[in-house]
């Protein structure tokens, strides 16, 4: 005797969040049953593995039927097929669009193309995330990317509205879209120590300060939050004077050193390295007009600034102190006329470096 057909349908769709997570994580029905058994759902119920299997199947089917709707979450609210209470809808969407940080770290900055998708089995093997889950997450990134690509207006807001995500998740997606669009290099060995949250923070900084939308100019330009502002990048070239003009460089150094003297143990190293570090930062700025250099933005920051400081054993406090004075002292330089650009540049650089300066 075998069960040929077994369904259980309810008027107000009920779902078990635990099973939903197992489904999202790409578990097969049998594996999910195992996990649930080990989790002890059957304790206290006079139910057999068979019952659990049937329940898991029912839930999996429901999720599969819902998946189509989850691809455009707005539909979920006004579709008629499933009667799902609003707070459940929110849960379904939020969990569906949630991603594993190990996974996102692997594809961050990569082109969201078919080629990348083909390599997902490698990513799956490397990260331990099931291939099914990898595909879902990748497709989510791609879907969000495709939708917001054609939209005008602020990026985070667009994502939030079209995918009904929480603010936090919408911001993470904005970062993913931003990285994918600018193709920032994140996979180099030197960058491995950085987490997705580090990058997401930096992306947030870049989006809110260096893009067209950053000016508060809500003329609803396409891609206003996705591309860096061209004019600004041009202006950055002017900062070169800080390192090309010897007087200015010396003056800047002495101002910073006076301010730092006695305040930190790493003062000697700071003084010795000032010119190198300053050159590093200003060179990064000057090169940003070149799209290829933009991709290396993070690797440059690490190589040209973070690594030297780390080898000199600066503390996070030292770093903050140094960057603060480094930025502020430039204002006192009377021959340096590019204060606005400088602030806009250094504001982001400072917060990015501070975020990235850890082990």
């Amino acid at each position: 005797m075998s069960v040929e057909l077994d369904v259980f349908v309810v008027n107000t769709t009920i779902m078990d969040e635990e099973v939903y997570q197992l489904w999202l994580d790409g578990y097969t029905v049998n594996d999910a049953v195992k996990v649930r058994m080990e989790g002890g759902v059957l304790e206290g119920c006079e139910a057999s593995a068979e019952v659990l299997h049937s329940d898991t199947m029912d839930q999996y089917r429901t999720f599969q039927m819902c998946e189509r709707l989850l691809h455009s979450p707005v539909k979920l609210a006004n579709q008629l097929l499933f009667q799902i209470p609003p707070h459940r809808q929110v849960m379904l969407i939020e969990r569906y669009y949630a991603f594993d940080s190990v996974f996102v770290r692997e594809v961050l900055g990569k082109k969201l193309s078919k080629g990348t998708k083909k390599d997902l089995d490698d990513v799956s093997a490397k990260t331990g995330v099931t291939l099914k889950s990898c595909r879902r997450q990748f497709d989510n990134f791609k879907r969000v990317f495709k939708v917001v690509e054609e939209l005008k207006g602020p990026l985070v807001e667009n994502i939030r509205q079209h995918f009904l995500l929480s603010d936090k998740l919408a911001r993470d997606y904005a970062a993913i879209v931003f990285f994918a669009n600018n193709r920032f290099e994140t996979g180099k060995k030197k960058l491995h120590y950085l987490t997705f949250q580090d990058f997401a923070f930096c992306a947030g900084q870049l989006i809110s300060n260096w893009t067209v939308g950053a000016l508060g100019d809500y003329n609803m330009v396409e891609d206003m939050d996705v591309d860096l502002e061209k004019e600004f990048l041009q202006d950055l070239k002017e900062l070169k004077i800080l390192i090309t003009d010897r007087d200015l460089l010396d003056q800047h150094k002495s101002l910073v050193c006076t301010a730092l003297r006695g305040k930190t143990k790493a003062f000697n190293e700071m003084e010795a390295n000032f010119k190198n570090l300053s050159r590093g930062l200003v060179n990064i700025a000057a090169k940003l007009t070149n799209t290829k250099e933009v991709r290396d933005f993070f690797i440059d920051l690490v190589e040209k600034f973070i690594e030297p400081c780390r080898s000199d054993k600066w503390t996070a406090g030292d770093m903050r102190l140094y960057l603060t004075h480094y930025t502020n002292s430039a204002h006192v330089l009377d021959t340096f006329k590019h204060q606005v650009v400088w602030d806009r540049y250094m504001g982001v650089i400072k917060s990015c470096i501070l975020k990235m300066y850890h082990d």
């Binding site: 005797m1 075998s2 069960v3 040929e4 057909l5 077994d6 369904v7 259980f8 349908v9 309810v10 008027n11 107000t12 009920i14 078990d16 969040e17 635990e18 989790g39 002890g40 759902v41 059957l42 304790e43 206290g44 119920c45 006079e46 139910a47 057999s48 068979e50 019952v51 659990l52 049937s54 329940d55 199947m57 029912d58 089917r61 429901t62 599969q64 039927m65 979450p73 707005v74 539909k75 979920l76 609210a77 006004n78 579709q79 008629l80 097929l81 499933f82 009667q83 209470p85 609003p86 707070h87 459940r88 809808q89 929110v90 509205q161 079209h162 009904l164």
Partner: protein, 993 residues
């Protein structure tokens, strides 16, 4: 020209992509009624078209209005080839024909295709202008209200109960017409859907006519069934109870105002606010005024012939005495229906059965049959017709003269809590041997020792402890045969099956220490080589009846010592189980002390069940279904049957703590219901791999299947405890081997027997809470259910585990949705009010102009309106709510077919999505009528056929129910603040559409 039907196509959304090149669709709509068709313009290149069409007007007879559905077809325009159909919507406009039901149908309907399922949605507005027609000889019966509910609907009062109405129409099944060989499956399915829709419309109209003839204005307990007789045709039949209903008007003349619902609560009697209002609200419905007798001239004598009532729940005082269950079955051979216009044979068959039921009732000294129902089971050309009901004496006050011949033996003096238990028959001239005692309640009248009925427990009945679901299951093998031989074999088997089911029920009843069964439903289904019997009922300990004796086991060979030991261990197990059940169901009758155990006196006695099986009407056999004696029920375990009985007795797994189940509307002994409610349908099909099974083997399998299913339900619903599964409705079927193929063109499938079991268990769930002080605010209670494990464990529930707490099946959801519902309900009713002012001037709306205007503006954006939450329940009420309006009957028939079964997730995936789609369509229709719930919902038919080799499957589903508007009793209560977040997110979502 008595009616003008107007329809307007507003918009579509989520349409499927029909043009692969552009990923878009050029959609237009055809609106068809009768033979008239209108078309909208093509709305090019959009998946969310805004047609905003003119009003399409159909001028039609009201006869057609009743019969025909409005048919809306959405198509994709194609310049070069034929237009592709996207899907259809059938709208039954019957609710618009009654002045008291809905006034407009407006809302989003799923666009349904029999091959692809739901494909997007369409927004439609439908109205009807009826002209008064005073023609005496009219063929229409507009205005007669239909209710599936088997009690007097909540906002009405029964002025008069006229009696039984029945009608039957037959036709050829389009699936079996020659044309089906050349047309597409889609065309064939649509023809069938349309035909059945037409036939049920016609049936309803004809029944309506009979009701009008009798002087009634409504049909209550309307039960419509389809018999898919295959080659020999398609029968649609219906029975019901004609009544004259008066609307209960709480205020003065404001009954038409949707806003009046709000002020109704002030007129409400205090019984409504009590948490046990379910039981009391009956009295509210009926006590309002004294029923009046209306004498009408010349009612059709045919109708009065059967004093049958499809009601299962009655006004207090209506039911005087109950005799017992009466049932009749008849095995028939189907032949082709030659003349669809004169369905005489089918009529005659039913006539015969009804006569038999009537004579059984007479034998029990009763003049009426209540809780009456009819059913069929068909296997190839053999058809078993069954009818059952409860013989009863009714109070003539409610009856129109002539509908029931009143007997003289009447004593109105018996108290209501036990009166119905008193025997209606003569003590010295009993129809069957029975053990009579004086009533344990009033000590004046005689009562039987057990009572079986098909009705719900009367509200006024005195009950000890709680009730529970009792099932008897039976499987009998039968030789494969054809025609006459087969029919004879079946009719020979039937008496034995009935007997055994009855024995099982009796044993299980005793094992639970109960003495009465309510809602008894015995289903027998025929398969090619087996018969299945499933009896379900709700067991109760009636205080008026004597305490049931224990069960005693006796062996026939007492010499053997080890055998004696075996018997005594069995006896001990049984005694332990009885003791345990007494605790479990809280049965502690004071009478228990005088119980005498032992001394097995083998006097064969009593039966409550009258049955007869007949192949032809003159062969009428009555069976004595008697066992043991009252005090000790003796089971002899020498023969294998008894061993089997004991096995089945003891294998019934006890219900997990926190669960209760019954198949009646309310659970006896439980009064603290919450409004948390969930309806579900479960379908399982088992395939028997070994076709050569013995009776015992089959029985064991069958019992296990039932038990497994129940276990599965308990597991799935574990997070809802304490909860009660009410109206648990099992259906079993053994599909024919030949039917395991889709469409007749396919070769014969030689798979072994398929058990469709239970084809649809429609089980409804009411969560109730057992905490102390549960009479309070239910929001709080549900909260405590979710959050505090303490209070749960204080209620002896061991399952307060973290793993469980993650599964929130929606108590919060429920709170959320009801709040939203409430808002929407308000919007809805008001909206409907506003439409009313604009359309029909004869009905004055009391709404101030300003209000209706302001609300009309909210209506202008149909796209943005969030989906109305619609509750579905097989109960006739929603706990802790008040039904304020009945909007009309929902009776829908759907066919779904697939030729890509594997791709749709196999049979389970296919059926799962189909059932979900049916639910969605029911909800959409209710919402469009302005309602927020379906009560007395039932899935009458669910026929499933598959052919895995061809990757095909087909399924037919028929559902029915009453669309209603309800409001919560705790309407005025504060809205929990947490809900706002959910709400904003929805509206946010809508804003972007």
């Amino acid at each position: 020209m008595p009616g003008k039907l107007k329809a307007k196509i507003v918009a579509g959304r989520h349409l499927p992509v029909m043009d692969r090149a552009s990923d878009l669709t050029d959609a237009f709509v055809e609106v068809k009624f009768g033979n008239t068709t209108f078309k909208t313009d093509v709305y090019p290149k959009s998946l969310n078209p805004q047609w905003n069409s003119e009003w399409f007007k159909f001028e039609v007879d009201d006869e057609d209005l009743q019969d025909e559905p409005l048919q809306i077809t959405v198509l994709d325009h194609d310049t070069y080839s034929a237009n592709d159909a996207i899907g259809k919507v059938y709208i039954d406009i019957d609710p618009l024909l009654s002045s008291e039901a809905a006034t407009v149908i407006s809302g989003w309907f799923p666009i349904y295709d029999t091959i692809h399922g739901i494909r997007g949605e369409i927004n439609v507005l439908v109205k009807v202008d009826l002209f008064n027609d005073l023609n005496r000889f009219r063929q229409s019966s507009c205005g007669v209200k239909f209710f599936c509910t088997t009690s007097i609907p909540r906002c009405y009062r029964a002025a008069l109960v006229h009696g039984f109405v029945e009608e039957l129409v037959v036709n050829e099944d389009p699936e079996y017409q020659w044309i089906d060989r050349i047309r597409t499956p889609r065309a064939s399915n649509e023809a069938r859907q349309r035909l059945i829709s037409l036939m049920s419309g016609e049936l309803q109209r004809k029944i309506g006519l009979k009701v009008l003839e009798m002087g009634g204005n409504a049909v209550v307990g309307y039960l419509q069934c389809f018999d898919l007789e295959g080659e020999s045709g398609l029968v649609v039949r219906a029975i019901g109870t004609a009544c004259t209903l008066d609307k209960l008007i709480p205020g003065s003349e404001i009954k038409e105002s949707p806003l009046a619902h709000g002020c109704r609560s002030s007129h409400n009697s205090p019984v409504h606010s009590a948490c046990s209002s379910q039981r009391l609200s009956h009295s509210q419905n009926f006590s309002v005024s004294v029923p009046t007798l209306v004498f009408t001239e010349g009612g059709s004598p045919r109708i009065c012939e059967f004093p049958f009532f499809t009601l299962t729940c009655f006004p207090p005082g209506f039911l005087v005495h109950i005799g017992g269950v009466v049932s009749a079955r008849s095995v028939k051979l189907l032949d082709r229906i030659h003349n669809p216009d004169e369905p005489e044979t089918r009529d005659a068959w039913w006539e015969e059965i009804r006569q038999e039921i009537k004579s059984h009732a007479k034998a029990l000294g009763c003049h009426a049959v209540v809780g009456y129902s009819e059913s069929t089971t068909i296997c190839e050309e053999v058809c078993i017709l069954s009818a059952s009901g409860t013989a009863a004496m009714l109070n003539p006050r409610f009856m129109r003269e002539g509908s029931v011949c009143v007997y003289s033996r009447f004593d109105d003096a018996s108290p209501p809590s036990c009166g119905f238990c008193h025997i209606p028959y003569d003590e010295f001239n009993m129809p069957f041997p029975a053990q009579l005692t004086y009533c344990y309640h009033c000590r004046r009248q005689k009562v039987p020792d057990v009572l079986f009925t098909t009705i719900d427990l009367p509200a006024e009945a005195a009950v000890t402890g709680k009730g529970c679901l009792i099932q008897a299951r039976l499987c009998r093998t039968k030789k494969k045969a054809q025609g006459e031989v087969n029919a004879t074999a079946i009719s020979n088997l039937l008496p034995f099956m009935e007997y055994e089911l009855h024995t099982q029920l009796m044993n299980k009843l005793k094992l639970r220490c109960m003495n009465a069964l309510f809602g008894l439903r015995i289903q027998i289904s025929v398969g090619e080589n087996m018969l299945l019997g499933l009896a379900s009922a709700t067991g109760v300990y009636l205080s008026a009846l004597p305490a049931p004796g224990g069960i005693q086991i006796a062996g026939k060979t007492p010499s053997d010592l080890s055998y004696d030991q075996h018997i005594s261990t069995m006896q001990k197990r049984i005694n332990d189980t009885i003791a345990m059940n007494k605790e479990l169901y809280n049965i502690h009758p004071p009478e228990c002390i005088e119980e005498v155990v032992g001394s097995p006196i083998p006097d064969r006695q009593r039966s409550r069940l009258f049955r007869s099986t007949s192949e032809s009407s003159d062969e009428l056999s009555e069976l004595d279904l008697s066992h043991g004696k009252k005090d000790a029920f003796v089971l002899e375990i020498d023969d294998t049957d008894a061993v089997e009985d004991i096995q089945s007795l003891l294998t019934d797994a006890p219900m997990p703590a926190g669960f209760y189940s019954c198949n009646t509307e309310v659970m006896p002994g439980i009064y603290n219901w919450t409004s948390g409610l969930q309806m579900f349908t479960s379908v399982r099909v088992y395939r028997l791999n070994n076709a050569n099974l013995t009776n015992q083997g089959l029985n064991k399998i069958f019992t296990d299947l039932c038990e497994n299913l129940l276990k599965s339900l308990y597991f799935k619903l574990r997070s809802m405890i304490p909860c009660c599964l009410c109206h648990l409705n099992f259906t079993v079927a053994v599909p024919e081997e030949e039917l395991i193929q889709v469409r007749r063109h396919t070769p014969k499938n030689t798979s072994p027997i398929l058990f469709i079991f239970p084809i649809n268990i429609l089980i409804k769930l009411c969560v109730f809470v057992c905490f102390p002080g549960s009479g309070e605010n239910e929001e709080q209670l549900q909260f405590s259910m979710e959050l505090c494990g303490e209070s749960t464990s204080s209620n002896n529930q061991p399952t307060a585990k973290p793993s469980v707490s993650s599964v929130d099946y929606g108590s919060f959801a429920d709170r959320c949705s009801t709040w939203l519902e409430l808002l929407r309900l308000k919007a809805h009713t008001i909206r409907r009010g506003s439409v009313k002012t604009t359309s029909s001037s004869e009905r004055c709306s009391p709404l101030p102009e300003v209000r209706s205007r302001s609300l009309r503006s909210t209506r202008s954006l149909p796209c943005g309106a969030p989906v109305t939450v619609v509750k579905m329940t097989p109960l006739s009420f929603l706990p802790r709510t008040r039904i304020v309006k009945y909007l009309g009957i929902i009776n829908m028939f759907f066919i779904r077919e697939t030729t890509s079964l594997r791709e749709e997730g196999g049979v389970s995936g296919f059926l799962h999505s189909f059932i979900a789609e049916v639910f969605a369509m029911v909800r959409a229709h209710v919402a469009a009528l302005g309602g927020n719930a379906v009560v007395s919902y039932s899935m009458k038919e669910c026929v499933f056929m598959e052919n895995p080799n061809k990757n095909q499957a087909q399924c037919l589903i028929n559902v029915s129910g009453d669309a209603v508007i309800f409001v919560r009793e705790s309407d005025q209560e504060a809205i929990p603040p947490l809900i706002t977040c959910g709400q904003t997110s929805t509206t946010g979502a809508d804003g972007t559409t």
